[in-house]
Symmetry: C3
Subunit: 447 residues, 3 copies
């Protein structure tokens, strides 16, 4: 006989505060972005920024992690090469103790397995030059493009054909003035592109603790103005922000889905398709003397934000949220300006150092960093995507999720052989005890 | 052909040191407390202490975690409100950056979702006041009671009906003298209750690293005297402890299971139903001049210890082991005394500061803290409940487990959206690298 | 209608860089060492070094973890006893707060459960001497041998019969000159054994973050010379190393599989069965004036390396890679020399302090420590064993894996009740925040 009896209790009728049917992302909507929900480790077979050019000098080697894939970069005679940073033999990362015996190879520091920089083929083994494995195998190579002071890597699956690699421009924001007719911008001049002649990119990147999707959605979210209301830049410029901005029309967003072009969405901000909210009686708030800065946000795969006319005319802010692991991302903030003379370049650099960087890239965007982190616990186990209750201002992330689901080139598999792929590993634990958090760069072995 | 052959080996006949059949908690007994074994994250739909009154001043907001549920508290016009600390929109904790625009609401700092303090209804969205989600959903509200300088919250499941919430007194220890007939105490005066007029509660709370059940069972365990033998309070008072106390009668414990009353157990300590052990020849120990302090321990759901006549006459020690996650608990130690004058209140506070706190709540009880922690590795994966070998002195925890299994109001589901619900998250990892352990309070965002 | 359509993509034909069929460890080979692949937590029912003799003085108690099993050692009247370090009652580790009331027992500090040192029987409970559990149960005892200044423990499963325990010598390297005929060594004198009369063992042990198998395979790996090329010892001695050493004959390795003898393998280094590689044209390297030190490596179960004639004549280096958890191991480095006089002993100690320890055990072997760690991420989730691509120089680990699979005496179950058996436990987390990594020794409770 078992003494335990169930406790009687009245039913709570499901609770009055369950998930509301009035939310924007009902089951039907969610089914349209399942691939996005699956992309915990990112989308692969896309171009991602890896390093600023100045972070990889001639002959230098650097190891990073993107979408859980270990990548090693080396610059030789000015050209940058990228390979999978994992020896085929015993799996160590080549970049943790770089050994380059010739100009066109990188060797594993452990047993001397030597790979061609250009195609990743195993070309020899230092102490075992006649082994029959040589020539039969190798590591994946990644296409590299370097423009405007940034190194981009096409992060592909091992079996993604090189001949299918699209041009970098397909994974970058649309350009102006060539898109000015399709996406007019009467309130500001045509935005520069990092592909423009004499484009200069100034910026920074740092590691954030959140899933890359949460980070990305924050970037073009029109409804989070509140987070920025206390930022110094707002007050220094005497801007007066609305309480919010809500979609006033069904065509408030246009998706970009043409073949061979960037895939994403453009928001018709500062048109009558979006309405600023100036009053909320319930909380007794009223905005007077509205004085917003004009800007426009768009986002394209694999998660590239463009903020036109920001922070100033003739400058554009680009952002990437590069997946490192499933809960860390490398946050890139880059300002682009065309500088046709050395003088212009110097002036841009000066303004970057004294204004843009401290007040915008830090200051203003620091708030986004903690906002993303604040969401992470809710989404970390995957259930957040089902439980969130979105509203009409969330047309932006919902549209993005659908477009990204339709046009991504592949969903990354969980990372392997990189720090953070096995949670709470003893190595990770020891590093934490030493005060070192998980990061984007490979730690080099010190002897 | 597979070369691997099994190694021959004689059978070890099961090992002479398996689990003994002589143990008290055989399979039949264990089956009587399965719900308790399942309650890794605690029992819900119970009253728990949340904060001392002085920890939440007028207009202040504080976030805590109980049973894996995020809870935010705010005090307005003296009254304390408690809501689920998780925005329905993107899941951030409201308390991490409190934003209160009106007296009767709390707004999410991220997108301005605004909830009524009293019922949790979504009453508006700051920058989106006409959204159709408003009025259809909200967050769970938790009943609050404030007595004797302590704030109690009824931690309910989202669908637990408010009309079923029992009075706080059902989740507090029984009271005297009204229980003096049922549970006589000839050796000490009637114990005070925090519900008494002019009851003053002085105490502390801190986070312990162990499951709450392990912590709780330590509180009323009569057999762990050894741990306390070197405590200063014992020697300062010239107490001479027995080696142990063993049950001398079948009725050494009485369960409390009457409807509408606290559910738990009372131990008949310092009666002939329990026998002090004064000698153990095997280890050559003999106690002479026994001089114990009289006290009596009882425990009621959801895990509230009462130690009557401790540390002195007219004072009672209460303890709670409030589940935070499955392996952390908030340890509450509270001394209650009725102080009818300001002078008495000051004297109690003085004695608390110079004697009770350093020698009893710290000193003496610090040993319990490490004892609970020492058990955690054994119980952490759940198998400890099956492998432990209990003896007759363990009648106390066994009885408690059965009573708790019969009368708890619900078993908490694993926590969601709180620090520690996803183990080894990157945010947790970063905080560890910064030297911050997982805790009870939400860390506020610093700008 | 679901808008999401799959992205068209050409097939990558499996990727040109998949796992090569030219690798040495194909599926058939791998099937011959499945037990080894399963031995994540080590092989049990083997002799392991636990402590140096000087680490356990008379009456001292120390707790350690081997193969996930908690073990407590105590020395009484010079003799060392070893028991399972886990009270049968509530699972705490006895060693965390040692309480020894008699010479032949150890008592649990929590509830006084008292166990015989010799057989682990529960002989009494301090405060409950008549409980019927007494005499019916107990904790596992482990056979102990102490030789040459080292304490060895036979780490057995609870049900492994004591009468089946083999002599320590079966789990130690083979001895010379008795093996000199079978394994001739014309280039160096017979190596000493720690079982020799007047053998002196000097060494050190420390915790490494990697699986024990990865650590062990590094020890006798002939192909990792590159890692050591910059070590001071190499340059101080003017040694000139080859680029590599490759097997030149099918009988380059002899397995040792005779009954009642150590099981393992001997490598015929510095014979014509192994060929030094002096040139690699692909990477334009050529060695001139080869001047290697003669040495020979062998390995026996449960993972004991012997390096004969190293670092000098008449000295032998032994190494163990004792599993602590699945991703930590205790790395033992021991030099053995026969010292027949006190003068010889002093000279050995002096040379150890000023030469062997800084240049060999540290210096040289420090490189092995980071090499093992560098492999860990790749092997941590178990897939590394399938994905690694081994070459002909890997005949050594492949042969070892097969021999170990055939002759181990048991595969350890995942650890229980020890630090690190539950990953990311709150206690572990707190310790990390305090800057303490997971280790081999039990941390004693401080009051």
């Amino acid at each position: 006989m078992n003494e335990v009896k169930p406790v009687r209790r009245r039913s709570g009728e499901g609770g009055k505060h369950g998930i509301s049917e009035a939310r924007k992302n009902d089951a039907r909507t969610q089914s349209q972005y399942q691939p996005y929900k699956d992309a915990e480790w990112g989308f692969v077979n896309h171009w991602y920024p890896a390093l600023f050019s100045e972070e990889l000098k001639e002959e230098e080697v650097e190891g990073i992690t993107i979408c859980g894939i270990p990548i090693v970069l080396r610059r030789v005679d000015g050209k940058v090469y990228a390979l999978k940073d994992q020896c085929i033999h015993r799996g160590v990362r080549l970049s943790s103790k770089p050994m380059c015996l010739t100009k066109n190879t990188i060797s594993c520091w452990y047993h001397g397995f030597t790979f061609n920089l250009d195609d990743g083929d195993l070309s020899t083994i230092v102490g075992n030059p006649d082994d029959k494995l040589i020539g039969t195998t190798g590591i994946t190579s990644y296409p590299v493009e370097e423009v405007g002071g940034m190194i981009f890597v096409f992060v592909r699956e091992d079996d993604y054909p090189l001949e299918d690699v699209p041009p970098l421009s397909e994974d970058l924001p649309i350009r102006f003035p060539e898109s000015s007719e399709e996406f007019p911008h009467p309130l500001w001049p045509a935005s520069p592109s990092l592909l423009d002649d004499n484009a200069v990119c100034l910026g920074m990147h740092r590691t954030g603790e959140a899933n890359w999707r949460i980070a990305c959605e924050n970037g073009f979210d029109n409804a989070h103005i509140l987070v920025h209301k206390d930022n110094s830049i707002i007050h220094a410029k005497d801007w007066v922000l609305p309480l919010g901005i809500r979609p006033a029309s069904d065509d408030c967003i246009t998706t970009m889905e043409e073949e061979d072009k960037p895939k994403g969405l453009m928001q018709w901000l500062f048109t009558d398709r979006w309405e600023p909210i100036l009053e909320n009686k319930k909380v007794d708030l009223k905005v007077e003397g509205l004085n917003s800065r004009f800007y426009r946000t768009s986002v394209v795969l694999p998660g590239v934000l463009m903020v036109e006319n920001w922070p100033e005319e003739h400058v554009v802010q680009l952002e990437w949220y590069v997946p490192i692991t499933d809960d860390t991302y490398e946050y890139w903030e880059v300002l682009v300006k065309v500088c046709n003379t050395e003088e212009e370049r110097k002036a841009f650099q000066y303004r970057f150092d004294v204004f843009y960087k401290p007040l915008c890239l830090e200051g203003f965007n620091d708030c986004d960093l903690y906002a993303r982190e604040a969401m992470q616990d809710f989404y970390a186990d995957g259930t957040g995507w089902d439980d969130e209750q979105l509203v009409d201002t969330d047309v932006s992330p919902i549209t993005w999720r659908k477009v990204a689901s339709r046009h991504n080139r592949g969903i990354a598999k969980p990372g392997r052989g990189v720090d953070g792929s096995v949670k709470a590993s003893s190595i990770r634990m020891r590093r934490l005890a030493e005060g070192k958090k998980l990061g984007y760069f490979v730690e080099k072995i010190e002897e």
